[in-house]
């Protein structure tokens, strides 16, 4: 392929002359110059792309056997589990694939937070990432409704009811979302349509995310710009093999869960068919929503809780300007580094408290953790950039030692 221009014979060259797919791939996935110092935390972007693909492929197969009707949805899932050849495998991959997609995306996001990947000139790259996260959340939420188990139904009821907090038109919006006066068949069937549609929108935003990424290239653990060709290496073979190793490692963990603990991340109640007359003792969302669920419940006012929950994500859009420090990587920001870890612990505490009943000490913990979440973004980061003294930055990626 390296002789593509000289050699005008051959099918590949014939095609590439008319539709430059090969040169495009060569430009953006083979020769693509990449910082030479990326560590394993940079594996999670390609992993996220892989899990998106897994979800789409298994999802399309499941859709061939699933029935989106309140009378048949639960049974059709059991039909997949028992009668469809390897249906149990496809479904368990899809179920756990959603969880793993969120795990790798959350790690990917925290990687960005630690190394300041959201700073100029990558603000739009960061924005596109948040849009992907929002689309993922919507998709995952609607997907969880499809089996029409108890948690599906009651989760959908609680979350769609959040929209009724909107003043004046809230109830109308909620009824419009439901297609009726409660979560019912119209709700299920539109959720199914949207659950099928949104992943393809995600693919579109992922393409934009990659275009934005390739415009200025990856950030790197030092957070400094590349000074010359000596700071870069071609993506292939160096990062293809590193990504393959990371993928293989992640798949080992993923399939260990799929084959040996496929229901570990789920809730037993979702194996009980939906019953609109019987509220489960304990309505909890999937684990990846727990931190936001905790923020929702921390505010004693319904509308306030909903606003806080959505703000928790929308504040990320402002992050490139809230973080006033010019230095990207936490490696050279001694105070930010500590704040990063405190923030990570705060997010984990929110997730944990989100799984607990909203009573006594848990309410207090969730309020403190919610307060800190916003304190981190709105107060600490803007001030820190003004007062923090960063460690000296290395001169270049290729020669980090010279700076000392």
């Amino acid at each position: 392929m390296s002789t593509a221009k000289k050699n005008t014979k051959g099918i590949i060259n014939w095609i590439d002359y008319r539709l430059p797919v090969v040169s495009f791939l060569k430009h953006s996935a083979v020769d693509y110059p990449t910082p030479r110092n990326l560590n394993y935390w940079w594996n999670f972007g390609s992993l996220a792309g892989f899990f998106l693909l897994v979800q789409i492929i298994t999802g399309v197969i499941l859709s061939m056997h699933y029935t989106a009707h309140v009378d048949h949805a639960f049974d059709s899932i059991e039909h997949i589990m028992r009668n469809v050849n390897h249906g149990w495998l496809i479904r368990y991959i899809h179920m756990n694939g959603a969880s793993f997609f969120f795990i790798v995306v959350y790690i990917h996001i925290f990687r960005g937070l630690y190394y300041g990947s959201y700073k100029a000139p990558r603000e739009l790259l960061w924005w596109l990432g948040i849009i992907i996260l929002l689309l993922m959340m919507a998709t995952a939420f609607m997907g969880y409704v499809l089996p029409w188990g108890q948690m599906s139904f009651w989760g959908a009821t609680v979350i769609t009811n959040l929209f009724s907090a909107i003043p004046l038109i809230g109830d109308n919006i909620t009824q419009w979302l439901w297609g009726g006066y409660s979560v019912d068949n119209p709700t299920l069937s539109r959720f199914y349509t949207l659950h099928f549609l949104l992943p393809f929108l995600i693919v579109g935003v992922v393409v934009l995310h990659i275009v934005a990424l390739h415009t200025h290239g990856s950030n790197n653990p030092l957070g400094i710009d590349r000074k010359g060709p000596q700071d870069s290496i071609p993506f292939h073979p160096f990062y293809t093999i590193k990504d393959l190793f990371g993928l293989s490692f992640a798949l080992t963990i993923f399939f260990a869960v799929v084959f040996f603990a496929p229901d570990f991340l789920g809730h037993p109640d979702n194996y009980i068919p939906a019953d609109p007359l019987k509220t489960p003792a304990h309505i909890v969302p999937e684990w990846y929503f727990l931190p936001f669920y905790a923020i929702l419940r921390a505010i004693p006012d319904k509308l306030g809780g909903v606003i806080a929950m959505f703000s928790a994500i929308f504040v990320l859009f402002l992050l490139p300007w809230l973080d006033t420090s010019k230095v990207r990587s936490a490696t050279f920001r001694p105070v930010y580094k500590i704040l990063f870890w405190i923030f990570l612990i705060d997010a984990i505490v929110l997730g944990w408290v989100g799984s607990k009943p909203a009573e006594g000490i848990y309410i207090i913990i969730s309020r403190i953790a919610t307060l800190y979440y916003f304190l981190h973004f709105l107060i600490l980061l803007p001030l820190l950039g003004k007062f923090e003294k960063n460690r000296p930055l290395p001169e270049s990626i290729g020669k980090p030692v010279l700076a000392e």
Partner: protein, 250 residues
């Protein structure tokens, strides 16, 4: 739905959890399938099927399980047809349009004990006996929970009002609508096993674990191969990665 209903939904479990806390944690029992690579004990599951048919089936259905799938427990087609033939199902309408009953066959699903939901409720003091197909997956620590529950019937402590129900220390809230179903010697095992209460319960739970997870053995044996393959592949990729990157250091 207004704010009060929503608050009720979100916060109600607070109180139900307090009552749920009164239930004992299930006793851990080493079933044949408890370990990650364990299998379903087929003999035990077959005895469990007998307990289900002779005792449980009068109230509880297994609507997601087809008779044909009993091949997974080691029965052949003739044996399965004989098991199915004990139950009557609606036939297709005949030439006069009447729907007559016929004996169930290999390809039918386990026959439901009641005509419909309301019949089932009416026959059981208003409490619907839940379908058992997925019971092991539908409860936390399902196998141990069901085993503990079936062994956990005792007299209520003094002053504890069970109302129309029965006392069970493993049930959330300690009151269960189902009377104690098994006492020991409820069935006469065809293989001569002594039908003690614990034996019957263990066999039944083994059978219900299979109805919940008919994929269990296939899944575990395939999983072992997949993990082995991925483990080797990961090592190969790691070594390739080291080899390729070593060129950079020169």
């Amino acid at each position: 739905m207004n704010i009060f209903t929503l608050s009720f939904l979100i916060f109600s479990f607070t109180f139900s959890l307090i009552s749920a806390d009164k239930a004992l944690k299930p006793e851990q029992y080493p079933f044949s399938f408890s370990k990650p690579l364990g299998k379903i004990d087929k003999n035990s599951a077959q005895r469990g099927l007998q307990v289900y048919i002779e005792v449980c089936a009068s109230c509880h259905g297994l609507k997601h399980v087809a008779y044909r799938s009993l091949e997974g427990l080691g029965y052949n087609k003739d044996q399965i047809n004989r098991i199915a033939a004990q139950f009557q199902v609606d036939d297709l309408p005949n030439e006069e349009g009447e729907i007559l009953k016929r004996a169930a066959i290999y390809s039918d699903y386990f026959v439901e004990p009641y005509e419909n939901y309301n019949t089932a409720k009416a026959a059981n003091n208003g409490a619907y006996p839940p379908d058992l197909s997925l019971m092991v997956k539908a409860r936390k620590d399902g196998a141990n929970y069901i085993r503990s529950l079936l062994l956990g019937y005792t007299d209520a402590p003094n002053g504890f009002d069970v109302g129309e129900g029965y006392y069970n220390k493993y049930m959330a809230g300690n009151i269960i609508a189902m009377p104690q179903p098994l006492y020991g010697d409820d069935v006469e095992y065809k293989d001569g096993t002594n039908a003690t209460l614990e034996q019957e319960v263990n066999d039944l739970v083994t059978f219900l674990t299979w109805t919940s997870m008919p994929d269990l053995e296939d899944r575990r044996s395939a999983g072992l191969k997949v993990i082995f393959f991925l483990f080797i592949m990961t090592i190969v990729f790691y070594l390739s990665y080291r080899k390729i990157w070593s060129e950079l250091k020169k």
